[in-house]
Symmetry: C2
Subunit: 570 residues, 2 copies
């Protein structure tokens, strides 16, 4: 591409209204233009990158045997009613009425439509397994769209859906997609991890997320030093605690006039926070629940909701707390409740001896508390906390936390959707049976932003080669407009193209400083400068985007260097 | 592609509910599945064809210097208000409210958004000319979606928008797009014509439509035998008539008791229909208008609306006819009106002598009528009729009519949108000036249907090679499952692929009849049969989709034949 024939428009100033570095750099590089909240036009430069990602995703999906189709963005309400998701999906579902007052939604995902397609197309186990995918625009009406295409409302997603005759088949299809995703993110040159995940609103049996690692990531990821174990913090588990020690203190009421937090209580009593207990008051159904975690731990809402009876829990009101515990917040505890309550203890709390809880009386806590002696053993012991850095892992290792950006998600859905939509095929015995589904998403547009979060420096984006708008930029320095310089640049441009490189010839006639700043900002991995002085010496100036110094190389050495980089990057 | 790894599902029966042959064949071949009125899923087979079209369109747009970007499908009301199209576009515009009650539409076209993009990106004439395009899903809420993807609501369109500093630049950009479209439809192997068109609701100064010729086409196209002249019937013009002959009859009232049509009157009086005059009663503003065309001609509503004062005309009611003409329909004429009326005569009527009109009295006509003598010369003479086969063309040739399917449209928009959206750039003198726009659409998904309308036979689709899902099908006949037959087929499949052909290996194990029927139905241009018997003889059975006979060719002859076809098709 000759940049004089392209539309490149970078900004000198960094946009003030963007928070994330990827958003700032995409605007500064002119990759995006905002049309509305969470709605962006991809400029020619941005689209080049988006298409590179799309192509890698498509190639690996095809290589994994998935078959591409194209489903509509506008989908009828009736199908979404069949799975109860017309309501359940919530306000993220953009609903629309046509001129005949028929209701539709703009698809945020396509389980219903693909299952409807499949039930019309698949009649026998002989047609299975099959995995249909599409790369199609999606819309989710986010309450607070932000961070550019990191969390936009309209976005490009690859969504795939597998159909198998049995659970083992579903597991195999799932593994094939896991392997394909691993190849996709490897080819894209991204540092990533697959982690166990909660399957959330889409439901189903097993799921893993693929995250691009970046300090700015919204999600906390947990790894073990002892094995391959990795999980989203929502799903991560620590090892069971050591057995409870014997009681050594007597229970006593302590004055804590202004100490409403575990931290303050521990400081006052000069004990570790790990010996204090935080009591979180909830209401679930008609039951008042006290959830107990250690003072140095945090309740994990997703784990909490998985405890039997707590699927629809909510925080208790102050009035309910007063009624059931006879106390005000800050001094709550499981001892001496005014009415019957349910106590759920995290395993780390259940393993404590000589611990401190609120006294259910303003200004007081109770210290030296021991299970079985001062209060009954907890009715429910369940993992309800976030793991923390340094926790012991189930594999014997230690848990570490890093931050990531979710760019892919694989689910085993089981029979949920097929059952709801009455989709059956004949099995080998001629019996109608509900197939097993998996679904597999890649956030194509989000990958672009995530890659920048992971790969940038003070001068701009540092693209992995597979995603770069061009692999090589040939920059022409030719202030006198000399024919032989222009010709040499053009010849090099054509030669590199013929060698299979995706090349930009910067023939815009900019001053070197402005030209180099642009090429660095937009993150082209390899820069070659053609100048009259270089040509006299028989050399080109080469610099990798990630390098701090440039080198003067003759034509053969330059080509060898670029070919070598290409080889190592593939 | 090995068809055993693909999802192909053809129907034995022709769908009863489809009207057009393309719709029937697309459903029968399993290219489409209906999701709702005018909303379709493209199956893997259908998508292969759609992508082939998309690729040709993209390559030719790139070759013409247009630059691809990607605009959102969901667009804010505010922008559409700036050009007054939020209301004017009418109920085809699918409107939607988000969770914050903000209003958007699903883009049916993108003049507003691209102009908004351009005004943020383009500041100087130095950046012009530029032509931005996208290939993006569109939605038009058709009142009566029909014919499958021929007139669907959700569809894939390529839309391009050029920006020039002056009118001459716009004309050059327009010509470049005209040339690109000619290459696109030529490469796609379609018989097509570019015709002059009315620019309709999008407005602007000049426009041409590209039509795929097909008997089932919705549009009537007009050609001249005397030159390259071609136009949509809405825009087509015939030569001016010969000068009026002298009057030779006297005016007389004739009894036409039951003769309400020109045909009946001409038969009764034994004169040609071309000597009768049809009077069409209209109301425009506060004026009663009588539009006169020859009895053998039809009024063209679009031409009529272009006559000064008739932009918002409507048909007159019977009450208005009674009030202004004192008559009932069937006997209307320009002589003896009860109140003042405006008369608009088509040139062919203005050139008549001794003609017949209604008498404005039930049961009577007036014959031998002559302008200037029996009634005043017509106030307005304007081309208000459809041309007909055999009309004399302005170039001296004869007009011919054929039918076509509109698949492309190029417009010179002028400054309409840029002015409405206050988009200016600096010209060479540093003066802010409104640029000139063009817009250029290709109906990517409609092309697929149009190609089938033009290219099919009793056995199914006959794809032009460039659009075919595969160029070659290698069919394996191997009832005994012999290894050497499977291996030979596989080797041929690989060899053809390595030679650059897009090949399907039909290894599904179907009986020959079913396999051949599928391959014919889905329209693969070249079929090669590998069988044990053929291998013994050292031959493959080759048949072109368009041929009636097959031939036995050895490997070298087969490859030469396929290469020869490829050469001639490109």
């Amino acid at each position: 591409m000759r940049l004089s024939q392209f539309h490149l428009r970078t900004e000198k100033e960094t946009p003030a209204d963007a928070e994330l570095v990827s958003h700032k750099l995409m605007l500064k590089a002119g990759m995006l233009r905002k049309l509305g909240a969470g709605i962006y036009t991809w400029s020619p430069l941005g689209l080049r990158v988006l298409r590179k990602v799309e192509t890698v995703v498509r190639e690996e999906m095809d290589a994994a045997g998935a078959i591409e189709l194209l489903m509509p963005t506008i989908q009828p309400r009736e199908l979404w009613e069949q799975t109860d998701r017309w309501q359940k999906f919530g306000p993220q579902l953009l609903k629309v009425k046509d001129r005949k007052e028929q209701e539709f939604c703009y698809a945020p995902t396509a389980e219903e439509v693909v299952t409807d397609f499949a039930r019309g197309e698949l009649a026998s186990y002989k047609q299975l397994p099959v995995n249909f995918y599409q790369i199609q625009t999606k819309f989710r009406d986010e309450i607070r769209p932000r961070f550019g295409v990191m969390r936009s409302r309209e976005f490009l997603m690859k969504d795939a859906y597998s159909f198998d005759i049995d659970e083992a088949g579903m597991a195999a299809s799932y593994q094939a997609m896991h392997a394909a995703y691993t190849r996709i993110f490897t080819r894209l040159g991204l540092e990533f991890r697959a982690v166990q995940a909660d399957s959330g609103a889409i439901g189903g049996d097993a799921s893993q997320e693929f995250h691009v690692l970046a300090e700015s990531g919204e999600d906390a990821l947990v790894f073990s030093t002892g094995s391959d174990y990795a999980a989203n913090v929502e799903a991560a588990r620590a090892a069971a605690p050591a057995p409870r020690a014997a009681a050594s203190e007597t229970m006593r009421r302590v004055d804590t006039p202004t100490q409403k937090t575990c931290e303050d209580v521990a400081a006052l009593l000069d004990i570790p926070m790990a010996r204090t207990v935080k009591s979180v008051a909830l209401f679930a159904g008609k039951t008042f629940v006290l959830a107990l975690v250690r003072g140095d731990h945090a309740v994990n809402e997703i784990k909490l909701a998985k405890v039997a009876g707590l699927a629809d829990y909510r925080m208790a009101t102050e009035a309910e707390i007063a009624e059931y515990l006879g106390s005000t917040p800050g001094f709550l505890g499981p001892i001496g409740a005014a009415k019957a309550i349910r106590v759920i203890a995290d395993p780390e709390v259940a393993a404590l001896a000589d611990f401190v809880v609120g006294a259910n009386a303003a200004g007081f806590h109770i210290a030296g508390v021991n299970w079985g002696r001062d209060l009954p053993e907890p009715e429910t012991v369940a993992d309800i906390r976030d793991v923390v850095e340094g926790d012991r892992a189930e594999d014997g290792g230690t848990l570490k936390l890093v931050r990531g950006i979710e760019v892919g998600h694989v689910f085993q859905l089981g029979r949920k959707y097929a059952e709801a939509m009455d989709f059956k095929v004949l099995d080998a015995n001629g019996k109608a049976t509900v197939p097993f589904m998996g679904c597999y998403g890649v956030g194509v547009s989000r990958i672009v932003a995530a890659a920048i979060e992971q790969n940038h420096d003070a001068n701009g984006i540092v693209w992995p080669t597979a995603m770069a708008p061009w692999q090589v930029a040939v920059c022409v320095i030719n202030p006198k407009g000399e024919a032989h310089v222009a010709e040499a640049a053009d010849a090099l441009y054509r030669e590199l193209r013929e060698s299979g490189f995706d090349v930009a010839l910067d023939d815009r006639g900019l001053r070197p400083g402005a030209m180099f700043a642009d090429i660095e900002l937009i993150g082209v991995p390899h820069r070659v400068v053609v100048s009259g002085r270089g040509l006299e010496a028989g050399t080109f100036e080469y610099r990798a985007r990630s390098a701090s110094e440039s080198e003067n190389l003759d034509r053969a050495a330059l080509l060898a260097r670029l070919r070598g980089c290409r080889f190592s990057e593939q």
